[in-house]
Symmetry: C2
Amino acid sequence: MEKRKPRTLSGFMELLPAPQAQMERMMQILRETYELYGFSPLDTPLIEASDVLLAKGGGETEKQVYRFLKGDTDIALRFDLTVPLAKYVALHANDLCFPFRRYQIGKVYRGERAQRGRFREFYQADIDIIGDGKLGIINEAEIPSIIYRIFRRFGLKRFVIRVNNRKILSGFYAMLGLAARAGDIMRVVDKLDKIGAQKVRAALCEDGLSPAQAEEILKLTAISGSPAAVLRELEQWRGRDELFDLGLSELAAVTQHLSAFGVPQENFAVDLTIARGLDYYTGTVYETTLLDYPEIGSVCSGGRYDNLAEYYTDRQLPGVGISIGLTRLFYVLSEQGLLNSELLCAPADCLILPMTKEYESAIALATALREAGVRTQIYAEEKKFKAKITYADRVGIPYVIFLGEDELTQNVCTVKNLRTGEQLRLSQEETAILIRDGAAQMSAGAVILEK
Amino acid sequence: MEKRKPRTLSGFMELLPAPQAQMERMMQILRETYELYGFSPLDTPLIEASDVLLAKGGGETEKQVYRFLKGDTDIALRFDLTVPLAKYVALHANDLCFPFRRYQIGKVYRGERAQRGRFREFYQADIDIIGDGKLGIINEAEIPSIIYRIFRRFGLKRFVIRVNNRKILSGFYAMLGLAARAGDIMRVVDKLDKIGAQKVRAALCEDGLSPAQAEEILKLTAISGSPAAVLRELEQWRGRDELFDLGLSELAAVTQHLSAFGVPQENFAVDLTIARGLDYYTGTVYETTLLDYPEIGSVCSGGRYDNLAEYYTDRQLPGVGISIGLTRLFYVLSEQGLLNSELLCAPADCLILPMTKEYESAIALATALREAGVRTQIYAEEKKFKAKITYADRVGIPYVIFLGEDELTQNVCTVKNLRTGEQLRLSQEETAILIRDGAAQMSAGAVILEK
């Protein structure tokens, strides 16, 4: 038979079992943490009608969308989890209760230019809180505090959640007589990290701002220091623009609540350079950067918006949300060698090796161990003893149980810890406890070990 | 702004939060059970190169595939999880250890005619064990025993895993001088359940079989009774065809091991009518039916194959696997009203209602409860008291914690169980224990309650 060369498309992540086990751990932490904070898991189709998915239209994203015809139907793969959420909430609004808190961990598709570390299929892990008409400011502090918990549980310490408020920027531009240009200016200012102050100034002037206006805008973004210091400095403009004042009060409230939610000073900052390119955001905005890897940009971004589903419904649905680019984050951590290789990544905690032709006892033992919560494989292939041990070793299974004539007669297990070489003769119950506790210990560390 | 009517494509399941919580429970049971049996989770792209995905070519499936161009690349959405597994194993064979045990729970796509209860996007939950060259027969019993555990943990009791062996059928047809026609005959016999013996006989004769041959074939499929009885009856043909004899020995071994794996008599049967349409299977085959809903057909099927990746590699990779059609199963169970509505499906175990303007205490309490494993929401919207209780009630959150002046001064919580109406004043630690235990109890039942 002619063979087809097996391959995986470029830009699509496909992991071997051990790294996949690490990825699953991270997903499990995401699910558990989101659920502790009272979010409902949501699952929406990967395919939507193109006119629904692209209701907003335009923009860079639309060019990257996987869009095609199936029969007569014009359909497309989702490119983020926000648009499907907007559709979901608009469609099911009468069956939902507000504030509606949902999380979704799912794949999205963007046909970006293939490039190392750029993915065309990637996981986003989103949380959003949607209000009906109104939504309390406290939610804007709770959202980043969840990210803080998750990153800490991943094992990360050297990260900063940077917070800003677009009302402050818009209000400030209004003071300069540039209220109508706020969106454009923010898109330029948002590039500050990438292109630097010089080029931003030039770009602003090119857009028709006076050098003095550009200077003022850069002066604002240059304010830095502790959250308290930044807020104090911003007070000098209070009273000159309503929107600015509101933004400043919101930012102060978010900052205060963030501390109450237990986010320590070293993991968050007020950063007036953060604008987020999207018009969509109307208040608080977030970006999260890894201190040792600033070059990879924000690994988790989001913010407050006033109208989640404006393309689908007249109902005003304000919300706040944040999204982790999970595939990219995993890729970067893995490339940097930060995945904790000590962690148990094998598919099983123990491997039973029947040393006789009688399998019933091995099966009974496996059943008992599994009922005790021990992940168990039986090795039932006819191979040499050495090949069986090599299998356990290569897969990383830490415990091997030998079941020979002796063990069967005496109703015991000979258990060998392949990591230490220690070998013991134990009863079935003792075996279960030994392996369960040992495996739990080998799984107890964080997924990420910062250098 | 002009509005776009929000809608979800037909044939795509999209659940409200409460049923989604039930679906998540079922997925969690799948993951946990597969892992107890030592399977690695796997995640492959939803999109593959069309020539890779459709290497086998032909067949009903190919017509249903979502296939399209993105730029110059001819790509397609996976229509099952077996072909991506074959590609994965062929591609990564040198990095994998055999037997390779993997599970995958993922969405697949088939553009079937839209019809009630038919899905175009649906979850399959697959397990497979792949050997390198050879694979022990014990695996063919372990696979259905895992399905047994899962269905029992779902809450199902009235189901039967039906087992057959295609070697018995092929060998039997060979005895009738029909060795070369085995595949075609099996495809006809496979319809027995749907069209009945009369029509199968007619179809066989139409295909050129003599009435006597058709009669013999139907006589074989008509053999029924306990596994032991069926096996006994099959013994009459032993010694006449090698393949038949091998199949009979395999079936006897699988039957024996199934008992050792703890599958009780009432949940499995030897059923000689099961052929499975696919040529792919070469030995043991499985189907699983719900006794009270025979009309929905098999909810979980699979079998033994000799060449997983023959389209990609010369390496012989025999295996055995089974697939649960999860979306369809969930749909049917839900339609039949079998989902256990007593189970806690709310996104949170408790809702904290701050009764003062001071949120810091509510936030501190929420943090403590979450650290104790209690899924907690804070209700921070400015609404009337009644609206807040209505929210908890509608979402199904069982416990509400009132935090007023009194509680703050005395450092206690007033906790109300909305299901019983009981209200208590407790310390923070007592509150955490009460709610955690209560919520655990409300989540303890099975997802499915058979009538």
